[in-house]
Amino acid sequence: MADQDGTGRLSRSDVMRRAAAQRSASETRQGSEASRSAAPRAARRSNAQAARQPARQGATQRNAQTRTTRTRPQAAGKTAPTQDTQARRVKEQPASQGSKRSPQSVSPAEREELRRRGRSLAKARRIGVKGTMVTMALLTIIGQFFFLRPMHSDLEKRDLTPFPEITATRLVDGSFFSDLALWYGDTYPLREPLVRASQALGNLYGIQPKTQMVGRTTGGDELPVAAEGEAGATPAPVEAASDDEVVEVPTERYMAEEIQNKIMEGLYVNNGAAYNIYYFDQESVEQYARAMNTCAQNLKGEATVYSIIAPTSAGALLDEKTLEDLGGTDQQQAIKYFYSLYDPIVHGVNVYDTLRAHNDEYIYFRTDHHWTQLGAYYAYQEFCREKREQPSNIMAREKVTFDNFLGTFYAELGNADMEANPDYVDAYIPNSTNDMVIWTEDGEEVETNVVTDVSDWNIYSKYNCFISGDRPLSRIDNPTKDDGSSCLVIKDSFGCAFVPLLVDDYQTTWVIDFRYSDRSIPDFVRENDIDDVIFLNAIVLAGTDPVSSALLAQSQNGNS
């Protein structure tokens, strides 16, 4: 029977298996079979099918009939089976029958016509294969233009994957090769336009409603807050950590990733503005409070510790009803809870109410998770009230405006409404000085400005006009003062807009971004004779585990 099927090279089991497989025919196969029946060639399928039928019937007299049909010309690529088998086949595979005419009725002209169509199809497919191969080859060649490979992505605000280090261990365990593949894709020369195209492709996946809630939500813990006045419900301050306690310090990368997740979880988007919802995490908050208490205890009598927890734009701007519907934790209550865990010597500065009161002003960006300098200014006023000093008036400062800013929310969401209506950055230059010094992570000392002119920087980086962005250590000297007053701001990126506001008030303003630093804060304060230590964190960061761990570790006295 194997030879009967006319191909001569298929064994019986092959034919049967293939026939079985063809019952589950894939897109490709069905399609190519369809074309085979379009082209006047002997189709393997019909052969296989013809072979299958006698096999299934298992009746030898049928074999004889099939054999006689076999001898007929297979002009249309079909055998002409007996009527009942044909009927069955039509019923089984109505789609594959195409033409119901028997092959005898095909005239030479028609045959020639079918052949012409077959040639046309074969040509299209040949070009299709060539086109695919050429595309692949071109993209391969482009991939070899090493000098065109990007190193950095402005939109994503990150360095792209570097070429992996070659070491014996990394070769043996395979990590070199997986990193190589990562590098090859991440720094592909056409990456930027391809990423842009992919965002356009992503927009085809669905409709972008004006009002959205996106990002993974973790739900968060129940806030154990009791409103003021409920006796006995106020939690006691958490205990400070001793210097012997070993605090596990998170890696910079892990911390950055956690912070990013925290900021991007639960984004409420409305008319081209995004608001991040805060989800309370009991353990991290306690840890954060411990860090404040530890630092204050270690500096007792030497410096004053202030803590400013900045709400997110959602907490400051959205109306009560929306906030309640969205879920998440009430930020006003959460900030109170933070402060309730503080030692009385820590000055918790409540900036929530004043921001809330100014929520019709431009105090937060719409496309970025930061506050504007105006928002930071209202916080600064509260800080001065806590310190019992007169705040300086920023309206008397020189103001520069940087138009067209698309921030982190835009980078995450690629929202078209944001693109159509970008943010702008107003920056107020201190009256006393615009000069500052920063130390990079390599320890290099660089002179720069408190407010840098970023008007020709890319659209995603405008917030970096303030104090040159996030640095391990920076220092600003006020030439108009010589009273020896000094402060240290321990900050995340919310601090960038805040620090310039302090410059006129102190002789020296120090800034540490704790994420890129591991020095002991009490030691540093003593060494530099600092008066005020101001911790400034956005609530989402303060309530994140790696942040509070890092701060706690840095709040311990150093070993030196």
């Binding site: 897109e27 199809l121 692949m136 090769f177």
Partner: protein, 473 residues
């Protein structure tokens, strides 16, 4: 290396195809073997030794089986091979699970070394077992050349993600194969279809599922009822599109060079019963267990008790094969229950439409077991899907996720059916008589692979998009 990466698409594959094309015929298998070893070594060079060793054992025992006259000796060599292969699989894949389970029972927490899972071990081990058993059964001849057996089990088309190609399927084609222009086109097209299925559809479904029903995060956030269902629908689509896409790409890669692997999926979500689902889902695995476990145990032609035992063995093994964790075993047991239910109670009594809907619900709920290795998460998702502990019916987040992915979901659902190939076939039929249809058909055939490759490249670049908040100079 995975197929859906720039490294594979724009270095490895073009180089391999190019070399393959231009070397003399007799060196083509050498090219394939060398490239397969490079491909395999990419994930950890030392495991090349493992696959080479497993192939060596199987090659040797198969030769000895064929040469020996006595049934007892044949059997002995078969057992040697099975012990070696299954022992290595057990060690590399299940050792950690076993130790962990025993420790959980004894409340111990000693640190015990667990090996890293070598890529593809589940697939090539089963391929080699099927080969040796088939030699034992006299279904195929033992391969004389060791390197050709190694080529069979390490071939980069199917080595790391299936399908589990039987030796008999390719035995002849290892030495005698010819890729006709039709084969090359079908292969290229199939590969591009699979690639697009993976990077355009499956990855997007995965991100939707990860947003709504994240796995491995410890505790899941409470969700409204529709959130659970939308998330699990996305996961249901993802797992089929992803897995079948790998099979498509494998089949396509094989076809380009003249190998005809068997189909691995047959529109499983069109099934009308649970049994039907398993006839259509991961066919190469189902048929492996059928031919090498179920039928040798006696299949269904035996007493009821034996039949239940046979089914239990097969389904617990099927579950375990998918991963070394209890949830996979439960997943296998879950299907066992429904298959027995169908066999003994329902026995085709359901109308077809009802059978289809009920089976789909069974399948979707089954994926809950499959998705969550953590029982806390699994329980929460399970209850949530029945509305227990769910926060209402829907929410702004669910509505947003749905609207933002509505076209993706529609296209993905369509991709689970045979509508695409049906349309193409209709076009093919029309093209026999109409010139306009012929032109459209020609254009479609020409453009589809190229366009799919380009769109996939774009989507793949998008997958590397990882906006990072903290600015570094």
């Amino acid at each position: 290396m995975v197929f859906s990466s720039f490294m594979f698409l724009f270095v490895f594959l073009p180089v391999v195809l190019c070399v393959y094309q231009f070397v003399p015929d007799r060196y083509r298998n050498h090219v394939l073997l060398a490239s397969s070893l490079v491909f395999y070594a990419w994930g950890g060079p030392r495991y090349v030794l493992l696959i080479a060793f497993e192939a060596l054992v199987s090659w040797g025992t198969a030769r000895l089986i064929e040469q020996s006259e006595e049934r007892g000796t044949k059997r002995l060599w078969l057992i040697v091979d099975l012990v070696a292969l299954l022992g290595l699989l057990a060690y590399f894949k299940y050792w950690g699970f076993l130790v962990g389970s025993i420790q959980a029972l004894l409340h111990s927490s000693a640190d015990i070394f667990t090996p890293v899972l070598p890529i593809g071990i589940s697939f090539y081990t089963f391929q080699l077992i099927s080969y040796v058993v088939d030699v034992y059964r006299g279904k195929v001849h033992a391969q004389r050349a060791y390197w050709k057996l190694l080529l069979y089990c390490s071939l980069f088309h199917q080595c790391i993600a299936g399908p589990i190609v039987r030796y008999e399927t390719v035995a002849d084609e290892i030495d005698n194969r010819r890729a006709t222009p039709g084969d090359v086109y079908a292969g290229v097209r199939r590969f591009c279809v699979g690639l697009a299925k993976k990077v355009v559809l499956a990855n997007a479904c995965a991100s939707l599922a990860d947003t709504l029903v994240p796995a491995g995060v410890g505790t899941l956030a409470p969700q409204p009822l529709l959130g659970w269902w939308l998330g699990m629908l996305a996961y249901t689509l993802q797992i089929y599109l992803d897995f079948s896409a790998y099979s498509d790409m494998a089949i396509g890669l094989g076809r380009m060079v003249g190998f005809h692997y068997l189909e691995n999926f047959d529109h499983p979500y069109l099934c009308s019963s649970v049994q039907d689902f398993w006839r259509r889902w991961h066919i190469s695995l189902g048929s492996f267990f059928r031919d090498y476990v179920y039928i040798p145990l006696g299949g269904s032609r035996c007493s009821t008790a034996q039949y239940v035992r046979n089914m239990a063995v097969v389904w617990l093994l099927t579950g375990l094969w998918h991963g070394a964790s209890w949830n996979y075993i439960f997943w296998g047991a879950y299907y066992l229950v429904f298959l027995l239910l169908e066999h003994f109670v329902l026995t085709d009594r359901l109308p077809k439409a009802a059978g289809h809907v009920l089976t789909l619900i069974v399948v979707v709920l089954g994926w809950v077991l499959f998705r969550f290795e953590n029982f806390g998460e699994m329980g929460m998702a399970f209850l949530g899907m029945f509305g227990i502990g769910a926060t209402g019916i829907t929410s702004l987040a669910v509505r947003t996720a749905f609207l933002q992915n509505i076209f993706l979901l529609i296209v993905s659902v369509v991709a689970c059916t045979g509508v695409g190939s049906w349309l193409r076939h209709q076009l093919a039929v029309r093209a026999r008589t109409s010139d306009v249809a012929l032109r459209v058909y020609d254009a479609e055939e020409l453009l589809v692979p190229i366009v799919l490759l380009l769109v996939s490249t774009v989507a793949l670049a998008g997958a590397s998009y990882n906006p990072f908040i903290y600015f570094q100079f």
